[in-house]
């Protein structure tokens, strides 16, 4: 198993930390992982993206231009990465703020209204975990016990009290993700 994922959105949406939790969970599940962020001024409010690879084998390149899964959280990222999903791959996006919806017919496309869901939970910060839940529903590559360990590892100790909220958000994400376009 090798899963090559790009997560892209605005800085501040929790793009990098979502990738980090995914990567740490992979490590806890004894997988090979790499986490390669875009960095620099982009970290401060512009667009941010991170490539996460989770694999049973040694990872060759941590930098790739074709992805099994693209998780897209703003329009700029949609413009940039829709075309980078491998044929037959998966695109997950939050329609909130998206004006040009994905058009490709050769990939599976799902929507997750994570921003609205997080807001209705009263916890906008767990937005990224709702998205992560949606992804894990479609690609259950990591067991939930390892996700919990990944949360423990990547969240600072003072935030460990929030782990149950994060787990709840992941479960919520699994419930609300819905198909937009399905390959036969």
């Amino acid at each position: 198993m090798t899963e090559e994922i790009i997560i892209a959105g605005f800085g501040g949406q929790g793009v990098l930390s979502m990738g980090k939790i995914l990567a740490y969970s992979g490590v806890m599940g004894n997988k090979e992982v790499s986490w390669m962020p875009s960095y620099g001024p982009e970290m401060r409010g512009g667009t941010a993206n991170v490539t996460v690879i989770i694999s049973d084998e040694r990872i060759s390149s941590p930098i790739i231009n074709q992805f099994d899964t693209a998780i897209i959280l703003n329009q700029q990222s949609m413009d940039k990465f829709e075309k980078s999903v491998k044929p037959g791959g998966l695109l997950i996006y939050d329609p909130n703020g998206i004006t040009h919806h994905p058009q490709r017919q050769d990939i599976n496309i799902y929507q997750i209204e994570a921003a609205d869901e997080a807001a209705s939970m009263g916890l906008t910060k767990v937005f990224n975990m709702v998205v992560l839940g949606g992804f894990l529903k479609l690609k259950p590559i990591i067991q939930s016990e390892f996700i919990r360990k990944g949360l423990e590892k990547s969240l600072p100790k003072r935030h460990h009290g929030l782990i149950p909220e994060n787990e709840k958000a992941i479960e919520k994400g699994k419930e609300i993700i819905k198909s937009v376009h399905q390959l036969n």
């Binding site: 790499s34 390669m36 620099g40």
Partner: protein
């Protein structure tokens, strides 16, 4: 762990006595990590933010001259500033580790990853005839491993060791296994293992002087001969490389660091198409794995070098190969990382079809 953090943690565990640095993207995590870890409490290690890269490398000179395990880190523009100090360190034959997390240049350039400091690193960026051992990590694990290996080689040869990384490896996270904590040198060990160090002149020995100066040209030439003999010994003993899928290869890619990781993926993609390609990854850039490349040149029909530069290492590959087979360069510059499919394309157009 990020590559930069792995390097910092490994340095503490390698028994480092002192780190002296100045912030610059994309390597500031090294000092941030060290400061957060309070190594002065863990091991007694000194960590100091200097007023400039120039001061930092000269602090390294001072510490190394006392027989201590000292290091600094920076990124390309900062490493340029350190060149004077590096030349002095090489001339005075002091052991130390220098990390360059390379970003695109020239000038202030960009903060994104690059490999355009190859010439500076391997041919001597400062003045005078000197060489550093240059280790090129291609994973977070090697960032950690080379901190310790760097110290060991530095003390073995009384020579600066450069770890030539780049922004991608510095910033990315991978799994890493760290060595156990190694104790720092004791005062007794320093006096015994590095009897040349300035530890205070006692009655039982002559004074120790650390200098790169000798105004007597005949002596300065002798000193240079001794340095060259040392560099030759490094070439004989310390050349390191990794070969991937080279046994049956018809074509070869030579790449180091991040480019080697990308090229490895390209090798997989090309082999999936039935094209037998191998990868030779130099781990030491000085000494350069000339011999093995020369040997492989007899086996393959063409060689592609992949670098995030305009083509610098290719000169060393060509020196190894001569005119026996075609050698071409593919690279991106300015902080752009080539993709595996671009490498595949370059191999097809420049080498196989070219």
């Amino acid at each position: 762990m990020k590559g930069n953090e792995a390097f910092a943690e490994a340095a503490i565990r390698a028994g480092a006595d002192g780190y002296f640095g100045y912030p610059i993207t994309p390597q500031s995590e090294v000092m941030e990590y060290l400061m957060a870890e309070k190594p002065h409490e863990r091991t007694g290690m000194v960590v100091l933010q200097a007023e400039s890269e120039v001061a930092a490398i000269n602090m390294v000179y001072g510490g190394a001259a006392c027989g201590k395990r000292v290091l600094t880190s920076s990124s390309s523009p900062g490493i340029s500033l350190k060149q004077e100090g590096i030349s002095y360190i090489a001339g005075a034959e002091l052991p130390c580790v220098i990390l360059n997390v390379v970003r695109g240049g020239p000038g202030l350039g960009t903060i994104q990853p690059s490999q355009s400091d190859y010439f500076q690193s391997t041919k001597g960026g400062g003045h005078g005839d000197y060489r550093m051992i240059v280790l090129a990590p291609s994973s977070v694990q090697e960032m950690a491993d080379f901190a310790r290996l760097g110290f060991d080689l530095a003390f073995k040869y009384r020579n600066p060791v450069l770890v030539l990384s780049d922004g991608a490896i510095g910033q990315m996270m991978e799994k890493v296994e760290l060595d156990e904590q190694r104790p720092r040198f004791t005062e007794e060990e320093i006096i015994k293992n590095t009897p040349w160090a300035t530890t205070g002149k006692t009655k039982d020995r002559e004074r120790n002087i650390i200098t790169s100066l000798d105004l007597d040209s005949a002596k300065q030439e002798l000193h240079n001969h001794a340095l060259q003999a040392k560099y030759k010994l490094m070439q004989e003993q310390e050349t390191r490389f990794e070969m991937i899928s080279c046994e049956d290869a018809d074509y070869l890619i030579v790449a180091y660091g991040t480019s080697a990781r990308i090229s490895q993926k390209a090798v997989d993609l090309l082999r999936a198409e039935g094209i037998r390609v191998g990868l030779l990854r130099p781990i030491t850039l000085f000494p350069f794995p000339t011999e093995i490349i020369s040997k492989l040149a007899d086996q393959v029909k063409g060689i592609l070098t992949v670098e995030m530069s305009a083509g610098q290492m290719i000169e060393d590959v060509k020196l190894a190969v001569g005119c026996r087979v075609k050698v071409e360069h593919f690279g991106r510059m300015g902080g752009i990382i080539p993709s595996p499919t671009e490498v595949v394309e370059a191999m097809k157009t420049k080498i196989i079809g070219g």
